[in-house]
């Protein structure tokens, strides 16, 4: 049979950004896949070498605009750890609460967009309806819906308020998640398009550096929140399920929303008992880090995110590097799409939750 080279993207509606896949087809079977990235490259790492830390802080939300809080947290954490700044209980609880709300918003968008990739339009509207509640709350307290720039070195920009909104969100969400599950989880069309498709076994996942929900849906109990200092004293169980296919990755994200609600409840309890905002903000003018290398990690919605800063004691970092989860998921497409059918290509790549600004940096 003759081979056909097919370009999927870069402006494909279901690639969440601009990802180009060069597929080689034999009939409908994919025999090789080559991801081509870089359409959204903004030079985040190069920019860091020219800017001071406080100038760079508003930019980092844009690395992954769906989970901006996580990248702010990473940069702030690096500066705080390097300078030995301790966070009070209230600040920690505020950060945990916002991070988990952000995670829920990110997963909700994924559910909507993934089902849209598969041709189901209505879940998109339901998921966005609930996501809107979270974004409205973000706008209320930070002034921004998405790129919030709310965490600062040593704490948060201003104290949090309207906690009844958060209570409202976590009261509504479990019922809504039940609705999604009734609509999607056992839907025969959805099940036939995802069950047994895009199987990612444990060894391959390790080999390709896959972390986060994608790894936990392959039966590996690895959640970097467990050892995270922000989550100290918070009781939660990482979502681990077997199955390793697209369906399991969907299920794991739904379960993770429930787990995040559980974490937010505990953070709210801390916020109720610790009413006073105590924080020692770092003076951002003339801020320098002591000479050395710093690495910090966090469990972002799309896998392990980490930052590396090499400082020579100057105003700006000597070298700054980001590690993002999606970058490795894109690399995985080379392997996971091989042997799949063309009509499954979107379903499989969608299930990995790839966000392109995070890939291109």
């Amino acid at each position: 049979m003759s081979k056909l080279k097919l370009n999927l993207g870069p402006q494909h509606p279901s690639t969440h950004g601009v990802l180009r896949l060069i597929l080689e087809l034999e009939g409908e079977k994919i025999i090789s896949c080559e991801p081509d990235i870089g359409y959204l490259h903004r030079g985040m790492e190069k920019m860091a070498e020219k800017l001071s830390y406080i100038q760079y802080l508003p930019l980092v939300d844009r690395i992954d605009y769906l989970a901006g809080f996580f990248y702010s947290e990473l940069l702030c954490r690096t500066v705080e750890k390097a300078l030995g700044v301790e966070l009070s209980k209230r600040v920690k609880a505020i950060r945990v609460m916002l991070l988990e709300l952000n995670r829920i918003a990110s997963h909700l968008l994924w559910i909507g967009a993934f089902l849209m990739d598969l041709g189901a339009v209505s879940p998109f509207f339901y998921a966005f309806r609930e996501r809107e509640l979270i974004l409205k709350y973000f706008e209320k307290i930070t002034g921004q819906r998405m790129m919030n720039n709310y965490f600062v070195f040593g704490g948060v920009r201003r104290d949090i308020f309207s906690l009844e909104d958060v209570e409202n969100i976590i009261n509504i969400l479990p019922d809504k998640v039940k609705d999604y599950e009734a609509l999607i989880t056992e839907n025969p069309i959805f099940v036939r398009r995802t069950k047994g498709k895009g199987v990612l076994d444990k060894e391959t996942a390790f080999n390709f550096g896959i972390t986060g929900v994608n790894l936990r849906a392959s039966g590996v109990n690895l959640d970097f929140r467990v050892k995270d200092y922000l989550y100290e004293g918070i009781d939660f169980n990482p979502v681990v399920i077997d199955g390793a296919d697209s369906w399991s990755r969907y299920k794991a994200r739904v379960l993770e929303i429930k787990e995040s609600i559980n974490i937010i409840k505990q953070a709210l309890k801390v916020l109720e008992s610790e009413k006073e905002l105590e924080q020692k903000l770092v003076n951002p003018l003339n801020l320098t880090l002591p000479e050395g290398e710093y690495i910090q990690e966090i469990e972002a919605p799309r896998g392990l995110a980490s930052i590396y800063i090499k400082s020579t004691g100057e105003k700006s970092p000597y070298r700054l590097k980001w590690r993002t989860g999606s970058y490795y998921s894109v690399n995985l497409l080379r392997k996971i799409l091989k042997g799949a059918y063309l009509n499954d290509a979107i379903a499989i790549s969608g299930s990995l939750d790839i966000i392109l600004p995070e890939v291109d940096k």
């Binding site: 870089g38 550096g209 590996v220």
Partner: protein, 140 residues
Amino acid sequence: MNWAEFTNIFKDCKLEGDKILIGSELLKTIDFVKTNYHFDMLKEIIASDNGDGTVELTYRLFSPEDEEDLLISINVKDEAESVSSIFESAVADEKEIYDLFGVKFIGNPELKRLYMPEDWKGHPLRKDYKENDERLNWNE
């Protein structure tokens, strides 16, 4: 990790802070720690220009079993051994480092420009990379 056993086999290495700086035999070292100490995941490869024509590559290995990190670093000039035969994730990391630092990884099957255009000259994260030169008008 058993440090005595490690230094017995790899003499050309020393501890520098919390990372192991090796002089040569990169591929062999990474293979050794993977098979003997279960460092099954390569979290990332960090490249950093030393400013003297060499680039420091730091391999951040991770053991999912013990949830432990291991940093192995090496100073290279323009060429390095590719570890893509051991870790598939290195294919992506090495492509990025080739594009931004110009380090050629021998054995990487997909070494080519990633973020920058194919005809771009120079490697932007090198410290000797010149900005504002006439090449930036490549689009006209």
